[in-house]
């Protein structure tokens, strides 16, 4: 089985050639001594090097944690690769963005209105959470096309707040 693994932005083409055995693009074969621990943690010994890492997913995105560093992880086989490549083509010309709530909280103020033109980094609303007022900023320049929440409304993490563009 052939895979493309992207970790921390670095891409690796790897082939699973046997139990816990990997072949890299250069043809080198490598066995790994891998055992699961608890809570999605694994202990790996590669050669003599010892690693403990954790895997988790959040909102469908995969991550690997190593010594408290969280690294984005993407593992695709040949089929996945084709599909995601096609998606990528369509995404090359982004025209807008959904702004989601970064955490649960209360919408204390909305600073923009529908139709308004905003700059990248401009505060669009104020979210109150954990006794702090947090400004939510626009990820890009554009026009506010839709506001899905109102003031004093409680929102959950990742709730859709408004759309730019």
């Amino acid at each position: 089985m052939k895979y493309t693994v992207s970790l921390n932005g670095q891409e690796f083409n790897l082939r699973v050639t046997g139990f816990l055995e990997i072949q890299t693009d250069s043809g080198a074969r490598q066995t790994i001594d891998l055992v699961p621990l608890d809570a999605n943690r694994y202990s790996a010994i590669i050669g003599t090097k010892s690693y403990v890492f954790e895997l988790f997913t959040e909102n469908g995105e995969k991550f690997l944690v190593y010594k408290n560093h969280t690294l984005p992880l993407l593992i695709e086989d040949e089929h996945d690769r084709l599909v995601s490549h096609m998606k990528q083509v369509n995404k090359d010309h982004p025209t807008g963005a959904d702004v989601k709530s970064p955490m649960p909280g209360l919408i204390s103020r909305i600073l923009v209105s529908e139709g308004e033109i905003v700059k990248k980094g401009q505060a669009v609303l104020v979210l109150e959470a954990m006794k702090m007022e947090n400004e939510v900023k626009s990820p890009l320049a554009g026009q506010v096309s839709r506001i899905a929440v109102s003031e004093k409304q409680n929102v959950e993490k990742n709730d859709f707040l408004l759309r730019i563009g």
């Binding site: 921390n8 699961p36 890492f53 895997l55 995969k62 190593y66 408290n68 969280t70 593992i75 006794k131």
Partner: protein, 503 residues
């Protein structure tokens, strides 16, 4: 008059409730925990001898309800209340109610809290003394135009600060007069939310200051000592993340001078118990009184580690009416201590609070390590309370070694389920500015970028990629225990979170 305390109700939650219960156990004092609806299985409830449900989910319905707290104390026959920090710890009215109910309030008298709690009153009180104050108003301001004029008079940048405030809440820096109005409104709103008091005042903003604070202890017999300083300059959102003692910039002469000023502040309000006098230290080693916190401080462990004292024990003894039993000349700092606060926050994303279930909480151990935590496996970090879940403190004979030990401890510390400030603390411990001791409260804006938290060792990344692929290919879904879980929901999402099937 000595009044022995037999049972203490701890009017708090999380790590500080656990911290207080630990000392009570060592003193043979019984403890009563209180808990909100979501805290039924929290560590402080498990550890206390008794536990009383307050009901409610939000602070206002639970840990901020003086009626419920006093009823719980009455029901359990507690003879004292320890407020911890935050919540009602600096609320003079609460302290008064506790005393009126015939209970011991473990803290200063309500009058001292009142004097120091209102930052403008404190400034007024000290304006005649030898304690240096930063330029600014000694009264609160409510009219935005008048405030703007005062700010212009002091000269921008200025700080808008909550009169009833503390801990950076309600504080705004204003560089540009054009931003003043919005900043003042935000400050007033936050102050109203956090303290139920929207009054603010204006103070000169010092460029590149260090935040240095002195721990003081004062008994009811007139003895006041300081336990040296804590350096608290590494802050995000005006809240401390890393603290240490001693500070790497204080000379013995400056330490003595500032210590003297700190005890003078305590004497000025007839202080009793453990308190902290905060100063700003500018680039020319001039210091200015900032505020006095009339309670135990989050970062008190670094002082405990360099003095050998248990500050909660001292608080209780003082509240019982005992004399301190030692004076300033008996005290000498021993070694160096550093504290890293573990917040459930994402340092990759503006330190925004993260919530969710902590699947796994494994603390470091071994020589010179202390962990004060309120978290256990499976516990929920909710939006209702402060995101600080733990404190990691290291001690060693000198600063260099205490830093090396902290690096080791941070690497050992494992929290799964929520993002934390652990990687940020690793960044700090490895940064040349921190290591050299040459840094100020702008450390984050001067040196930190989220991408600096990423790994750059490609050989390491390559090995981890191999590990990840094998883990997913061979072990995923093999059994319930091994399946790859979502971080926010412990149950396995069957909708193909991982697309790869076992061979």
């Amino acid at each position: 008059m000595i009044r022995k305390i037999k049972k203490i109700l701890v009017a708090n939650r999380g790590e500080i409730a656990v911290r207080i219960i630990r000392t009570c156990k060592e003193l043979g004092i019984e403890t009563v925990a209180v808990f909100s609806e979501t805290d039924r299985t929290a560590l402080h409830v498990r550890m206390a001898d008794e536990a009383v449900a307050l009901g409610g989910i939000k602070s206002a319905e639970s840990y901020l309800s003086s009626e419920k707290l006093l009823a719980a104390a009455k029901r359990t026959n507690a003879d004292a209340i320890h407020p911890g920090y935050g919540f009602l710890s600096e609320n003079a009215t609460f302290a008064e109610k506790v005393q009126n109910a015939g209970l011991v309030f473990i803290g200063p008298d309500p009058e001292s809290i009142r004097l120091m709690g209102d930052k403008t009153t404190a400034r007024k009180l000290l304006s005649g003394s030898r304690v240096p104050l930063a330029p600014g108003t000694t009264d609160s301001v409510s009219d935005v135009n008048e405030a703007k004029k005062i700010a212009a008079g002091i000269g921008f940048p200025v700080l808008v600060k909550a009169s009833a405030g503390g801990g950076g809440k309600g504080m705004r820096i204003v560089h540009d007069p054009a931003d003043f109005e919005q900043a003042m409104t935000a400050s007033q709103n936050e102050a109203q939310n956090a303290f139920g008091d929207s009054r603010v005042y204006i103070e000169k903003y010092l460029e590149g200051p260090r935040h240095i604070e002195f721990q003081i202890l004062a008994d009811s017999h007139g003895e006041v000592v300081h336990l040296f300083e804590r350096e608290c300059s590494i802050q995000r959102r005006h809240q401390k993340v890393v603290e240490e003692a001693p500070s790497s910039v204080l000379t013995p002469a400056l330490r003595e001078e500032m210590g003297l000023a700190a005890t003078e502040v305590a004497r000025s309000c007839k202080y009793k118990g453990a308190g902290t006098v905060e100063f700003l230290l500018d680039r020319h080693n001039r210091f200015y009184f900032l505020e006095m916190n009339t309670r135990l401080q989050v970062e008190h462990p670094v002082t405990e580690l360099i003095t050998g004292l248990d500050l909660v024990r001292e608080q209780i003894r003082i509240a019982e009416g005992e004399p301190l039993g030692f004076s300033q000349s008996d005290l000498k700092p021993y070694g160096h201590a550093i504290e890293c606060r573990v917040y459930a926050e994402d340092p990759m994303n503006q330190f925004l609070p993260d919530t969710g279930k902590v699947h796994l909480h494994r603390i470091p151990s071994g020589p010179g390590i202390r962990v004060d935590s309120g978290i256990v496996d499976g516990m929920e970090v909710s939006v209702h309370f402060d995101p600080m879940i733990s404190k990691l403190i290291t001690w060693d004979v000198n600063r260099e070694r205490a830093i090396a030990r902290m690096r080791r401890a941070l690497e050992e510390y494992s929290v799964s389920g929520v993002q934390t400030t652990l990687p940020f603390c690793q960044f700090v411990m490895n940064h040349p500015a921190f290591i050299s001791g040459k840094f100020d409260t702008h450390f984050i804006s001067d040196f930190f970028r989220p991408d600096l938290l990423m790994l750059s060792d490609s050989a390491l990344i390559s090995s981890l990629a191999t590990g990840a692929l094998n883990a997913v290919h061979w072990y995923e879904r093999e059994s319930d225990a091994l399946k790859v879980q979502s971080r926010s929901t412990p149950e396995f999402s069957s909708a193909g979170v991982w697309k790869i099937r076992r061979k």
